[in-house]
Amino acid sequence: MNKAIGKTLVAGAGLSGIRSALDLAETGYKVLLIDKSDHIGGLLCQLDNQFPTSKCGYCRMLPMFDRDKSSQHCLRKGLFHENIEILLSTQLISVEGEPGDLTITLKQNPSLIDSSLCTGCGECERVCPVLVNDSFNEGLTKRKAIYLPSPQSFSNAYTIDYTACTRCGECEKICPTGAIKFTEQDREKFKILVVDDEKIVRDSMKEWLKEEGFSVTTADSGQKALELMDDRSFNMMLTDIKMPGMDGVELLAKAKEKNEDLCVIMMTAYAAVDSAVDAMKQGALDYLTKPFDPDVLIAMTKKVYHEFEIAEGRVEQVDALILAGGTQFFKPELGKNPYGYGVLPGVVTGMEFERLISGTGPGKGKLIHPKTSRPVRKIAWFQCVGSRDVQTGAGFCSNVCCMISIKEAILAKEKFGPDIEATIFYMDMRTIGKSFDEYKLNAQNENQVRFVRARIHSLDENVAKGDGSLVARYVDMGGNIHKDDFDLVVLATGQRPAELMTEAALKNSIETNQWGFIETGSFSMVKTSRPGILSGGSLSGLKDISESVTCASAAALEACKIMHEAGKQIIGAADAGAIDADDMEDLAVMARENPRILTVLCSCSSDFSQRLDLESLKSHLDRIPENESVEIMDKLCTDEGWQTLIDMIQKTNPNRLVLGACLPCIHKHRIKELGKAAGFHPSLVETLDIISILNQYPDLEISKMTQRINRELKILISKARFKNPVPNERLESNQNALVIGGGIAGITAALSIADCGYHVDLVEKNDTIGGNLVWMDKTVDGLDIQEYLDEKVRQLESHSQVTIHKKTSIESAASHPGEIATLLKKEGETNDLGETILHGVTILATGGSQAPLEPDVDDSLKILTQKEFEIVVQDRKIEPEKLNTVVMIQCSGTRDEKHNYCSRVCCIRALKNALFLKEKNPDVQVYILYRDMMSYGFFEEYYTEAKQAGVIFFQYDSANKPVTEMHEDKVLVKTFDLLLDMPVEIEADCVIHATGILPDLPETLADQYGAALDTFHFFKEADSKFRPVDSMNYRVFSCGLSLKPCTIEEAVATAEAAAIRAIRILSHERLVSGKTVADTRTAICSLCELCVDTCPYGARSVDRLEEKIVIDPAACQGCGVCAAVCPSGSAVLEGLDMRLMLDSIDMVLS
């Protein structure tokens, strides 16, 4: 039976949307990826570098095997994948149905530009009279209403800003390919009713709106308006509120009764704004305050019109929906705006600063003051702008701003020289990731970034100086007031829910938290309140890249589960591009044939011939012996043109094709079709986008341009000449998984994989499973951990696809391309050889534990670790009711020389325990001694709660750590109050140390599977940002505490992420390599193993029995370093081998 292919809709094509989409597409499901904006890539397109490396690595998200199915270039240029359909300028309207059967309505902006015709020549942009703020540069520069969506976009096609466009038609007139088509008459169809008792208002509004091409009718009273509405229908009504007789609000109600879809905009004097707001609650769309600027009216009208235009929805049937709409940033100009954003010169948001320093930004790679254009030397970053500030309605922390600011400061220093003075003003430095603390220390010590613990109250211009510099007044920890001058102040603006997404969520009854962020279920970072709808990335709260990517993958896993449970199929990688036996034979024949190249040049309706001497080009290329034929054709982009080409191919019977044309007709999918039509592999078609080169050099003389194109074509001909027609390699791949570790991460990973239909062996060294969860009672949110664990264990133990090996350890493991063999060893069984498991992927979920207290002297329950405390309280060995004073010491043995990382969970745990104690015994005095309170994200609420409950916090300095002394039955804690500048002594009944988390991943174990450990002995990610659960060995993953310190919820998310990363391999019987892939010529190989050592992916290994180098073609990414390191040429990069390279060099130099 032919079952349907699973399909998921991913709403939001930023970082996390791309991750979810790719994970599913790689697994073999269909994905519809939509985004409301005009380009994909989201926020990251605007950032050149990201923390915690100050580097990029976005491209590392791309598929690793079957690479030819997707684009292989910088993601800022765009993305395509055979299994992903991308719809831009598209929004989600509604969702109906159940998981596995969702009906989703979308609305898409009408496209006035036919992207298949647009050559990106830029003429339209030149003539466009409208200049608006360029949102890509955060408004720091201007752009036209017709523009290129993002500077690096792969497609050169222009797009139109519908709200800014005046429909003057200049672009339509000038477009040389006729790609722009306005449907101007449509505005006439848009009927507007203006209701006002003042004639002058009515008339002038009518005039303004008519000028824009709308149909306008006026009425002088509500009664009249209603009468008119009986006659005909209107799309929009503008009504005054204060009118004699029926007032605007009443009219609104009555009009809505007649026409529910009518858009109503209220007009009112400033004093009566309240009633306008009330009217909005009754269904008015918006309001205008009188007197208003015609431009405001027009803009608002256009917005409504635009909605009207795109109201026609597209309906999609999918199995699951992933919401990945990301986040928005707080707008500092709203509210009290104490920092004078938009008022004072040189106050910018973090995003604006990113644009200021970007190579594609307004400074063109140089840092200049956005207002005065003077060079910038002193820069300050203000943290918590719109976060941790109830004055802006933000009782939460935004998670990543501290790190973003550190990165920006480092980048400013690195890019623009050490003369830049960077100061970061902060409250708590929330370096909550594994390597974040180290990053901060490096910024401080190596980059000389100044960190000042102070909150700036407001900002003033230094009027005395008169150079636009800003002065910030702050108080240091010692109470001294300082006034510092800055050229530029960067506001680290906090998170706000993504508007459209929240709207969509509310409309579709998806629960949000008190601030409007999507609420996810208990112990899940991705499940929303509505089954079948998942939240990826930052939608449920701002996340750093690694966490966004993790959640995106976790969301993909849930979608995968839904599709599997709904019985949906995947497109097997091996079947999709399947080449049957006959084809294989043809290809084999072709491989032995001499190349016969057909070179086709498009004259593009004589456009090219004006700039190029096509005939001389033809005669040059004709001299290349393998060039069977060089043809000049016209308008390849049209269907007729394309047919001529196919005819020509059939006539000349070439086995290679080189195509010189413009971008639209060399789009990948057409080439694919062509390959099929002509009977050869698409990779044997080489294409040159001539128009881009012509566009780049508008003034180059014909002879030079011809030369240039000649050279470019010759390189391609050279490539075609040496292309290997043999199809991509297929590697048989084992479809079982091995999960090592039976903690919550291991359990989740195993269950997730098993739920998607693959067999899992789970190995646990102890005789119980559950790991750390066994000793935990409740989360800070009050969730019952035992109940959760019991349910998971029950599911695991009863799962038909899971085999559990308790009291078992890993004896040894050996990897072969496509399969890993692991020898198990059961505790107590000494003589027998253990069981060998063959598997395709390994998930290292070996966990971690709370660091012991050093030295652990006390057994009187006076000095405890957090874990010990929680256990003794559960056992009632300590009764909270009997305690008078409890002291908690944070960062006890972490964030120091020995364990230089933040363990992330201890502050939350301390807050949980403090609140627990206060709940059980309101009289107990709890003191928390901390360095930086890491109550990140929405956990900030618990910090506030603890304070409200009367918990007293003492901040201490890492140089001056608290000490404890046993005094009979009390513990004396000595610390120093930094603010009061005095020593403090507390007599406590009990002292609880937050000792941090130690990973439990033996180096030998990691090593056996080709994974590595980082400097902190956690699992080393292939890329800490973009591949956060992968190792460099593409078959090995990690999750939970062996990966990084994390909460239960986060551990579950990493496990789900690891699961989908594994499933995308397990779902294929055979993995397909890329066309550009390493190979070895064994006959001339000396087995020096230089290639083995140099391969970053471990794709090469030595087969000791066969005495040869073997390559895992799926692991190989085609970088070619192996070929460069091999002196004999036995290591080769198929597709870009030395013959081809040397020939290309010859070609460009001839």
Binding site: A1083, I1084, V1125, P1127
Partner: protein, 379 residues
């Protein structure tokens, strides 16, 4: 520890032979690998010896250096044989072998490396001529070469490599036979250089020796002389090849026979890339080159080949001079190589053959290094 090898029948050579026989008889080793005068021949070739009696033909110290045995030892050791072999190598042969170990072409596991103060060598062509014209006997040669530091022998030239060698002393071995600074009338000294070496020397039960007092001084003198000669040689060769035009003329007799690379001990490739299909050009290619330049010499890619070889292994050049020895056109490839090797080795602070744990410079990298070469600022 140090032991003494005494004269046997008033002969140093026989004394050495005796030492090797004892070594073979200890059962610590199964075979010896050392230069042996072939039966009924004047040729001295490295040979694998298992019979004690065969040691009588061994010439451990001779002016003949037909090939760098580092290569041969790699053949003996790239896989396990189940036999233990003691190999006697010249310092440059040891260096070559150490480089080959790094490239997984050999292993020390079953070897006892015995080094020797280098007895120098004549170039292969001079050696043939020398042998025809009243050569010195083996002992006399030793006496002469270790007492004088001449550049010639009976009017024949020691090879350029030997005359410009700044390091004719063994390192990285299990034991070394020392002659420089040793009173040869009293015999020679064997010093242990590793634990294995020491154990073996102990089982030999031979007379202990003391450190030769003058050795350091002599070693320093020889090194200095070598350095000076090397400097002059490099100045000279640089002058001869400091432009592409000059390099063209320097190599104009090259017939692309690839003997230099075949005999190079560190050119470890089974097959040189220049012998593969990459350089088996299409006929039309030759025409195209000819059309471009007016004429093209065949075989082509001569300078390309030499420059590539410099790029591939100059960092590993041990300065044995076998490339020049092997050249049928008498091109002094060695001098060309050494002059470049000096630069490349200095650039990576790499000294080939001295430490088998030092990775080849192009197989490793550091995140922060050579930052001065990044960018287009003029140097």
């Amino acid at each position: 520890m140090m032991i003494k090898i005494e004269h046997e029948d008033n002969s140093l050579t026989k004394g050495l032979q005796q030492f090797f026989k004892r070594l073979l008889e200890t059962r610590e080793i199964d075979a010896l690998f050392l230069p042996v005068r072939l039966k009924d021949s004047s040729s001295i070739m490295p040979s694998l010896v298992t019979e004690s009696v065969q040691v009588d033909n061994a010439v451990p110290l001779s002016p003949a250096f037909p090939l760098n045995s580092g290569r041969m030892v790699s053949r003996l050791s790239y896989k396990l044989s189940g036999r233990k072999t003691a190999v006697l190598l010249r310092p440059c042969e040891i260096r070559a072998f150490i480089e080959l170990i790094k490239l997984k072409q050999g292993s020390r596991q079953e070897l006892i490396l015995i080094g020797i103060d280098c007895p120098k060598a004549l170039s292969s062509s001079d050696y043939t001529a020398y042998m025809e014209k009243d050569p010195l006997d083996d002992d006399a040669y030793i006496q002469k070469v270790f007492s004088e530091n001449d550049k010639t022998l009976n009017g024949f030239n020691f090879s350029s490599a030997c005359n410009t060698c700044e390091n004719p002393f063994p390192v990285n071995t299990d034991m070394n036979i020392l002659l420089h600074g040793v009173d040869l009338s009293d015999g020679m000294i064997v010093e242990s250089a590793s634990e294995t070496g020491q154990n073996i020397l102990e089982t030999l039960n031979m007379q202990q020796a003391t450190e030769p007092v003058k050795r350091d001084e002599v070693v320093a003198q020889i090194k200095e002389a070598g350095l000076k000669a090397n400097e002059e040689m490099i100045k000279d060769i640089e002058e001869k090849t400091n432009s592409i035009t000059k390099l063209n003329s320097f190599l104009d007799r090259c017939i692309n026979c690839y003997n230099c690379r075949n005999m190079c001990p560190v050119c470890y490739c089974k097959e040189c890339v220049f012998n593969t299909d990459v350089f088996y050009h299409q006929p039309v290619q030759y025409h195209q080159w000819a059309e471009k330049k007016g004429a093209v010499k065949l075989p082509t890619d001569t300078v390309f080949y030499h420059l590539t070889r410099l790029a591939h292994i100059s960092h590993a050049c041990v300065g044995c001079g076998q490339c020049s020895n092997a050249c049928p056109s008498d091109i002094n490839v060695f001098e060309l190589f050494k002059s470049v090797a000096q630069n490349t080795q200095a650039a990576f602070e790499y000294s080939p053959g001295t430490d088998e744990n030092e990775p080849p410079p192009l197989s490793v990298f550091h995140e922060k290094e050579f930052e001065d070469i990044i960018g287009i600022e003029r140097e």
